[in-house]
Symmetry: C2
Subunit: 193 residues, 2 copies
């Protein structure tokens, strides 16, 4: 997705060979118009499928997932990272380790919002080691839902998450797939990878 | 806002005289089309003002704030509730107590995304005791930004937050203002209050 890649090249900050900071438009400040384009691109890539539910995880997945939901007219469910007092039971749960934040969170989704009748598209901001996506897949499996695929804004293709998930037969559409962050430079894979 | 009030009456669950659960469209599952209408209504209510930045707080403020941003073409910044390793310094911070979750969070916003040149509209999902809005006002004040006002999806008008903030001269636009949750029933104030 050219406008996304251009934005990454213009505003992304390479903090190390593995860390790309995109706080100006995705992870802290949000560019709503770019999010809308991202939602439309996810819809386009999965236009061959009927999606009844979009599953994401708080917080940075919410904006792109909601824009996809607006485009295709489907509800979004975001997994919560901690249990709140008003969401105390009736949950699907899974453990997700964040290498960036160096912490493990229990993520959970109410049983009310994901069922065996759902065709689910999982959406998230980043795919690196694949921990968040694996947690969301685990939750979808607990619900007996059919997972159509995964939509990722930025994949770190040089890490193992995407490779491992594709080897399991899971369809992943990444709108920008990074080949390398070496020498402070962002290098993308070709569009088709 | 009639469509929002209708949705609350249809799907909201009154858990006690002070707790309204709206997980089917706002706090866990998100209705993207309703969020778009909410964003447009905020834009309409503040159409007399020039907004350069929308300030909200993760996670449930993100969807309505992003839809407002899409409508008026302004960026959204969401305050984070915990510091991540990639956001460790250069921050405005404030403490926010959540009575619903019975916990106090440090919220923070990068100094890169809020400055003395900004005309800020604060957006959040709920206004009850006003703790989150006070934290966001504190952060905007630290930045020297001009706060135009506050946009709230659902105000619990029977609690003190809105009253206290209005007495300080802060403009608050609530799209649904609840007068009472007694006897398991949602009762709204009139539209103009």
């Amino acid at each position: 997705m050219k406008s996304l890649k251009d934005k990454i090249l213009q505003e992304g900050k390479v903090l190390s060979d593995t860390v790309l900071k995109v706080d100006t438009f995705l992870n802290h400040q949000i560019d709503p118009l770019l999010m809308k384009e991202i939602g439309e691109e996810f819809a386009n890539r999965y236009s061959d499928e009927v999606i009844t539910k979009i599953l994401t995880i708080e917080s940075s997945g919410i904006a792109p997932a909601t824009m996809l939901g607006l485009t295709i007219g489907a509800p979004v469910v975001f997994a919560r990272k901690r249990k709140s007092l008003t969401l105390a039971n009736n949950l699907y749960s899974s453990s997700v380790h964040s290498f960036t934040k160096n912490e493990t969170n229990e993520i959970s989704v109410s049983r009310d919002f994901l069922t065996a009748d759902d065709n689910v598209l999982i959406v998230d901001d980043f795919l690196a080691n694949g921990e968040a996506v694996k947690g969301l897949l685990d939750i979808a499996e607990q619900a007996g839902a059919n997972v159509i695929g995964v939509g990722i804004v930025i994949e770190k293709g040089f890490q193992e998450g995407g490779k491992n998930l594709r080897e399991q037969g899971i369809r992943i559409e990444s709108l920008a797939n990074i080949k390398s962050l070496a020498n402070g430079q962002v290098e993308f894979y070709d569009e088709l990878i």
